[in-house]
Amino acid sequence: MDNESLLVADEERDILQELMNIAFGKAAAELAEVISIFVVLSVPSIKVLKAAQLPEYLQEEIRDFADISIVEQNFWGRFKGSAFLVFPAGAGKALISLLDPEHEATFESGTFEVLEKETLMEVGNILIGACVGKMSELLGDVVTYSPPKVVVENEPRGIIPKNLFDPEYTAIVMRTVFRFEERDVRGFLFLVTTHDSIVWLKKALAAFIEHYE
């Protein structure tokens, strides 16, 4: 694709890939060690796209899921962008006990959906925080986060709101598949960096590899 060759060299992409591998490996290890959440993160893949192409791309990526929920969280630093966690519908239910085993009691109608949604946000917050946090740490940056938000709730796939992204932006999309070992829940994590952090990212990647080699 044009964008890819234009903006991000293959070598840079390889470095980014390697960096993500390290970051996500550390994130998973620390999640297990520190808070006993066992998550497997697949080898990430990287794409450079126009933001306008994102909804279509995401749709294609998640075509195996029937209904989905998406948690969005923005991160700010020099490394800047949005993280999207895509869960299959009903994942929140399966994850409630992951966070709080005592919560397995019965609920009033309505309350359960709220709990499910809140659980998705909390799991999203933890997972996104760990992955993005480790990445930015390796890149020598510190980021802060917006509160997580459920932007799509149990919708049939295909309804990824077009207005989630500024269409003019170039985005680096980093995709990984995550799986909670004990809960049989899988989903996707997409990190979309904004246009203005790409220049910085290229420099940070160069610094990273220099330090690494």
Binding site: I37, P101, E118, G129, V142, V143, Y145, P147
Partner: protein, 300 residues
């Protein structure tokens, strides 16, 4: 006096700083006044020594992820209700025993970006939660009788139906209707009719278990959902409803009024496709009870 400390002590927000070993480093005036614990007293102490209820896996997990990953943690009122067990402002005490809180936790970094402490913000959202609670109640209940409304029943019924089918458990429904209710309204007026509806809903509600649901289904028609109850048991319960209502005396403007109800009972049977089919069965039984003379229970 430091400008920031003046602000920190006057904002309508609880602010706490904890060291990496979860000892209290800072405790603002809002926290002092809500907790009754002076900053000098809690400074340097383990937070859990003063608030043992915070020592939960979820809270410890959040602290660790903030300190390890530089995460932010959000404790919404909806999921956690509160972190610190404070008393609410008096006007909300009847609804909430504790102040409802929305809390945030984040890392505090040194100049070299390592994380040495975390901060907590505590926001009082009791009033908001009370309004939400009231709205939800209004959405679920019939204003006159206090029984659940039809919409809530239908939603609940679908959940119960699916659950009972999945686990092959028994589930019954009692539909009932006040006999000659139109006559009551015509002879004594609608206010009297309302009073009787309220009385009957109150009497039946007092007879059922907390797991059962009584809903006002239509004008003078009620529906009672009985989870984990088979047909013979539901029939017995319906019969108790019938005799209780028949014996109850309603007093309206000094006049004694007696009414009866007719009841239809149905239970989940294999092959029943939906909760609507179950309701329809109970409704048919109710129709049969009416047709065959009223003030009686018919099961099918």
């Amino acid at each position: 006096m430091n400008e920031f400390s003046q602000i920190l002590d006057s904002v309508n927000l609880g602010l706490v700083i904890l060291d990496a070993d979860l000892r209290v480093r800072y405790w603002n005036r809002w926290m002092e006044s809500r907790s009754g614990i002076a900053a000098e007293r809690i400074a340097g102490a383990l937070l859990f020594d003063f608030f043992p209820s915070l020592k939960t896996p979820a809270f410890i997990r959040s602290c660790k992820s903030v300190l390890t990953f530089g995460n932010f943690s959000f404790f919404s009122q909806k999921l956690h209700r509160f972190l610190f067990p404070f008393r609410p402002d008096s006007s909300f005490e009847s609804r909430f025993e504790q102040m409802q809180q929305s809390c945030t936790m984040g890392p505090l970094r040194n100049d070299d970006t390592t994380i040495s402490a975390l901060y907590l913000t505590v926001q009082d959202v009791t009033e908001l939660a009370a309004y939400e609670h009231r709205l939800m109640e209004m959405n679920m209940r019939d204003g006159l009788t206090g029984a659940y409304n039809r919409r809530f029943l239908e939603k609940r019924m679908e959940e119960e139906f699916n659950r009972h089918v999945r686990y092959s458990r028994s589930l019954s429904v009692v539909m009932f209707d006040i006999d000659f209710f139109k006559k009551v309204n015509d002879s004594y007026g609608h206010l009297c009719g309302d009073l009787i509806l309220k009385d009957i809903a109150g009497e039946i509600a007092a007879m059922i278990r907390t797991t059962d649901f009584l809903a006002r289904y239509g004008g003078e028609e009620f529906c009672c959902l009985l989870p984990e109850t088979d047909l013979p048991a539901a029939q017995m319960i319906a019969e108790r409803f019938r005799s209780r209502v028949a014996e109850a005396q309603h007093i309206y403007q000094g006049q004694e009024i007696y009414v009866t109800i007719s009841l239809g009972v149905a239970a989940l049977t294999p092959g029943l496709s939906s909760c609507h089919a179950l309701l329809k069965k109970a409704d048919d039984a109710l129709y049969e009870a009416k047709r065959s003379g009223r003030n009686r229970v018919v099961a099918c």
